[in-house]
Symmetry: C2
């Protein structure tokens, strides 16, 4: 009787609203006869993060939440932050997210770039003919590189120079390369492994020469059947706009490149409202059993009126959770399909329900209801 | 009697072809009565670079060429490289370009992102409604940052770690900030200075906190009238695709960010065939009088048949040369206008001459002739 403990952290502003829709979808999936027959149960525990936590506990992330997160199968998270709590200082809501990712050692950040339905391909700033069929995953190393290298800050005594060290250990690159292989098989499915595009700037940076060497050694030794090519980071910046379909598969990036290219990819598919993400601390099924963290890529949107936000990215994140933390691909597929039908044009057999950010007028709850209805 | 010494380095493959068209345009401009009346003369000296230089002299960049370059007002360059000379090893054609830039201390790289005529807005992968009216300049710091920081290479003795230092000195940031101010005024023209968008990742990197501090201190002290805003690098990656017009003005980047975002910008406007560049060693008119280097952003395209390449980026680069190294804005404007007319649809009063990369069938020389004709 597979049962999964899920810690639900709505966060601030639209966070709890979009997470509530994802919970609704999970509960509806759970009660479906085919799922109930397998005895699948989601045990949801709710807690506070970010500004809500500051208001109640005085800090954005409590030890109790960290402990609960570590003991759960997965964390489903909305968004944090807002003008009430400020943007600077020690007690920023934003630090809670980075701290929680670090506490869970989530070194792999997975951000798919896929138009969720034909009906919303027109939301992309790209021509429909160019974006149609785009389906790649940006895989970002999330715990190393220039984010965590030695920092020399400038100060009033030393105002003239500052630096960060952009370094990688071989083992850090090897584990993310293995994750790329895992994702390539998962993404390719029965069609066989998808192509991995390895991103670096090895013609200029020493750290990228190690990166490239480590990625290829692991690939040649452990998954020689998976097609892989190199692409320089500047060329990727161009290709992602000119011909995003050519990247279909897995786009493997270091931390800072992944930060930039996952945002560029979100723009290409048309909306942050379609950009889910997963942060993992191990390859699913490898026995580490560390909880993953799942969240939409957008923020807490303090300016939005209540019940206006697009919950799709959060519901997609919940589907990723089923895929990577619960090994329930069939259910994840069903949710992705339900999202597609809910969004699609009526003339294509869809419900054509869309929120304001993608040119519709549906409320957050109506969008969630439509996805439940098509499930 | 203003006369300008210009060193012309065609380089390899399509390089000499596209440069020949730019020379044709310069000579036609020179012989125009209004220009001849002012006594303006371009003294062109031709020499070899890259593979051509390897074939004749055994090295891709000779001391003689460096000396000539230093003594000229400007260098007009095509492109280098090709399979004949290989991609690795000491004698790569590509090193000649980086070495020449360094010899000339060209610390400011200027890459405009502008659709050259309404008729070719449709070449962009973006919807015409989104790309129309895009007109910004990516200004890239070109001699510092992680490109030139201390490198720790991995080796067979030390295979497990590699790193680069991403550092900036305050004076390096200050001089590029001043260049941004110069460009903002030049770009805004009679409408007043254009907005500067300062790009960094100050929420994560120490080097970017210095960068932001230095940029703002210079701005507040020396050009408080110029509007400036900050944009985080990840957010820029998204905005450049979603709403490129919102960047109209100057986009100020460090070396590695500028490498990525100038390529993303080229994709946005539709073709590397429309992406000229200038590399400067000083602010025009500040008395340093160091020569600038002008080149299309594309490569030498060894696979292309003869007389097929698009010469527009090189001709645009020549126009930038007139603007920044010769103080001949009126002539640069006239060439840009002639390019626009040559490319534009017939029904909009243009000649509708276009090369294969942008959906036409004109040859390199026909494209150049059309621009001369409209001049
Ligand atoms: C908020 C910021 C520190 C963070 C990052 O750079 O990792 C964000 O941009 C992200 O991509 O999750
Ligand atoms: C060839 C390479 C070293 C160079 C760079 O990264 O500067 C190129 O990408 C450029 O932008 O001119």
């Amino acid at each position: 009787m597979p049962s999964f403990n899920i810690l639900v952290l709505g966060g601030d502003h639209i966070g709890p609203e979009v997470v509530a829709e994802a919970v609704k979808v999970l509960q509806s999936a759970e009660s479906h006869p085919a799922v109930a027959a397998k005895g699948i149960k989601f045990n949801l525990d709710h807690d506070l993060l970010g500004g809500q936590s500051i208001d109640v506990h005085g800090i954005p992330l409590t030890e109790a939440v960290i402990e609960k997160a570590k003991k759960s199968h997965a964390v489903l998270f909305g968004a944090v932050g807002g003008p009430k709590w400020g943007m600077t200082g020690e007690l920023r809501p934003e630090t809670s997210v980075l701290d929680l990712r670090r506490a869970l050692n989530c070194w792999a950040n997975i951000r798919p770039a896929k138009v969720p339905s034909n009906g919303v391909a027109k939301c992309s700033p790209l021509k429909e003919s160019i974006v149609k069929g785009t389906d790649f995953i940006v895989l970002r190393e999330n715990c190393g590189g220039v984010y965590f290298g030695d920092k020399q800050e400038f100060s009033s005594e030393k105002p003239d120079y500052a630096s960060d060290v952009w370094g990688y250990h071989r083992w850090e690159v090897e584990r993310i390369a293995k994750m790329a292989a895992y994702l390539s098989r998962k993404h390719g499915g029965t069609k066989g492994p998808s192509r991995i595009t390895n991103i670096d700037k090895a013609n200029v940076l020493a750290v990228c020469r190690l990166w490239r060497d480590a990625v290829w050694k692991i690939r040649d030794a452990e998954f020689p059947d998976i097609p892989m090519t190199n692409q320089l980071s500047d060329s990727l910046a161009l290709v992602m706009v000119k011909n995003p379909r050519s990247l279909n598969g897995v786009v493997l990036c270091d931390n800072i490149f992944g930060d930039l290219f996952s945002d560029e990819a979100a723009a290409v598919v048309g909306s942050l409202g379609f950009s889910p993400s997963a942060c993992l601390a191990g390859i699913p099924g490898d026995g580490t059993n560390s909880p993953g963290m799942y969240e939409p890529s957008h923020g807490s949107a303090p300016d939005l009126q209540p019940n206006c936000a697009n919950p799709v990215a959060t519901i997609q994140s919940a589907a990723m959770m089923l895929r990577y933390s619960c090994d329930l691909d069939f259910l994840a597929d069903a949710i992705d399909e339900a999202i597609s039908v809910a969004l699609d044009d009526k003339e294509a057999g869809g419900l054509e329900v869309r929120t304001g950010d993608i040119g519709g007028s549906a409320s957050t709850t109506e969008m969630g209801d439509a996805i439940v209805a098509s499930l």
